[in-house]
Amino acid sequence: MSLPLLGVPELEAKAKAVRRLVLETTHHARMGHTGGSLSEADILTALFFRVMQNRDLANRRVDRDRFILSKGHSTPGYYATLALRGHFPIEALQTFDSLGSILQGHPDMHKTPGVDMSSGSLGQGLSCGIGIQLAAAADPEMAGVRTFVLMGDGESQEGQVWEAALYGGARKVRGIVAIVDMNGVQLASTTAEAVSLEPIVDKWKAFGWTVIDVDGHDMGPLVEALERARTLSADGPVAVVARTVKGKGVSFMEGRHEWHGKAPNDAEFELAMKEIG
């Protein structure tokens, strides 16, 4: 059964719900990667509630679009999205990071319903996504399948990302969409202060990818960009550079590397929930 096609206002409401669940999850666990989960919330919402195809809950279809969270630490946002999408009860978010939970610190395909591929060590997801699309090219039952790989800009400092970019462009791998969550902040500093990725659009173009540069928080253009990427990837690899803000929606978290891997305390949580609305 396919999803009803959600419009921009409904998707914005879903994204707000994802952000609220992110804060509840990390606040309850007293740990977790809050900043990157808030920057990716709109992208995940657009993908899981609108752009990706054939992702039935009851049946892991062979011809479903695949998703890999290559920036694997941003699980609070990922799990919130999967829970809202119906893969597991929202109450399960309260077990995040605790012993025996289906919700590990980093995505585990064997433990969490809805996760297509395990990840966690940065830089590996795009190669796996390319492998899925090599399979799609070799298996008629996978015709039309797309793989969306969400990466961080800090993550893109890993060499393997560029091995994969090189291969994808050189071989014109079809159906692969790399999304860069360009939030500009990594664990210890801004990305510019660490090792800048700019000019990021030129880099992906030089590697032979079609590039779409978009605001990663403006739902209308974001959905349009991701749907266009899905279509264009029929002919070759597509990179979506999504300009985002780390900690988006919470003023005291926005753009601050201190919120990369931190959970809000009780007072911060109250304030943050008010700001999200």
């Binding site: 062979v62 695949r66 585990d108 395909m109 064997h110 297509d116 591929m117 395990s118 990840s119 966690g120 060590s121 830089g123 590996q124 997801g125 795009l126 190669s127 796996c128 996504g129 390319i130 492998g131 899925i132 699309q133 090599l134 399979a135 799609a136 070799a138 298996d139 996978m142 793989t147 060499g159 393997q160 091995e163 994969a164 090189l166 291969y167 050189a170």
Partner: protein, 318 residues
């Protein structure tokens, strides 16, 4: 192929891929610019649509293979041992072993023999690494016959497999119809004076040593560990109890490989005198393989010498 023929594992592996291609239509092969060396070139020619040349980018190769394995394909990932087990180690660990995907790793050029390429290309520590890797099955075939059999058997193992082969020619020791049992050591000679545990290409060396020892009246039990993991604990525990002394020989560092596995098993269940033959804690250097092996006692005469030393220590103990 007949007993005594000298055949390189890589040639046997390359042939096996072509032989089993029709049996496993979803088997695919990845290589990183070394298909002429690893001998996957035969498969490339026979099934170009199932062969993926990934360029000199091993990390991406392992990840792409994992992606195909997610979708019902069974990929062989083929390159030199040093690159597969070290350069792409994190990808093997996370994208393959932790994800527990049926990716089959052809670790060609295991141990010393690399065509005199020296320290950077000789892999002395990969067994220690792969043995400690959860979900991994680690195979070290002795000869061409066993390499072919294990290539086929690896396809039936539900999970990742590390098949470690060597570059140099190795004498065939098994009958053509030999089929090893994964997880069991093969007893190639019986005896209770001393036990010898060997892996991979060191098994033919150990077999020659057993004959020399027999001529000296020493009855050695030879256990060939074609499977390093899961490790056959029972075989070496019985050998310890019945022989009282164990010598291990491997084309690998004495740290963490077969000798390490034997000592762990015996420490837990049946301690006895052990001598580990292998490379000491050093990098290799360029040179003639046989000469280097001999310098470390990794030839039949070296084994005989160390067994006699071990037996004199055993007598002192008794």
């Amino acid at each position: 192929m007949e007993k005594g023929d000298r055949i390189a594992h890589r040639n046997a592996f390359g042939r096996a891929l072509v032989d089993i291609a029709d049996k496993y239509p979803k088997m695919v092969v990845f290589d990183a610019d070394v298909c002429a060396s690893t001998q996957t070139v035969g498969f490339k020619k026979a099934h170009p649509e199932r062969f993926y040349e990934m360029g000199i980018a091993e990390a991406n190769m392992v990840g792409a293979a994992a992606g195909m394995a997610l979708c019902g394909f069974t990929p062989w990932v083929s390159t030199f041992t040093v690159f597969l087990a070290k350069r792409a180690l994190d990808q093997v660990r996370v994208s393959v072993a932790h994800a527990n995907l049926p990716v089959k790793l052809n670790a060609a050029y295991g141990g010393l023999p690399t065509g005199r390429a020296g320290a950077t290309h000789s892999s002395v520590e990969d067994l220690a690494i792969m043995r400690a890797m959860p979900n991994m099955t680690v195979l070290c075939p002795a000869d061409a016959v066993e390499t072919i059999a294990m290539t086929d058997l690896a396809m039936s193992i539900d999970g990742p497999v590390y098949l470690r082969t060597v570059r140099c020619e190795v004498p065939v020791i098994f009958d053509r119809d030999w089929v090893p049992t994964i997880g069991r050591a093969a007893k190639l000679s019986d005896g209770d004076d001393v036990a010898i545990c060997s892996e991979g290409m060191m098994t033919p060396v150990a077999l020659a040593a057993v004959e020399k020892l027999a001529a000296r009246g020493i009855r050695a039990r030879l256990l060939h560990y074609g499977t390093i993991k899961p490790f056959d604990v029972d075989a070496v525990v019985a050998a310890s109890r019945e022989c009282g002394a164990v010598l291990t020989i491997e084309n690998h560092s004495v740290i963490g490989g077969l000798g390490g596995a034997v000592c762990e098993a015996l420490a837990d269940h049946a301690p006895c005198l052990v001598k580990r033959l292998g490379f000491p804690d050093v990098f290799m250097e360029s040179g003639d393989d046989d000469q280097i092996f001999s310098n470390f006692g990794l030839d039949p005469d070296g084994v005989v010498r160390h067994v006699e030393d071990l037996l004199s220590r055993k007598r002192l103990r008794n």
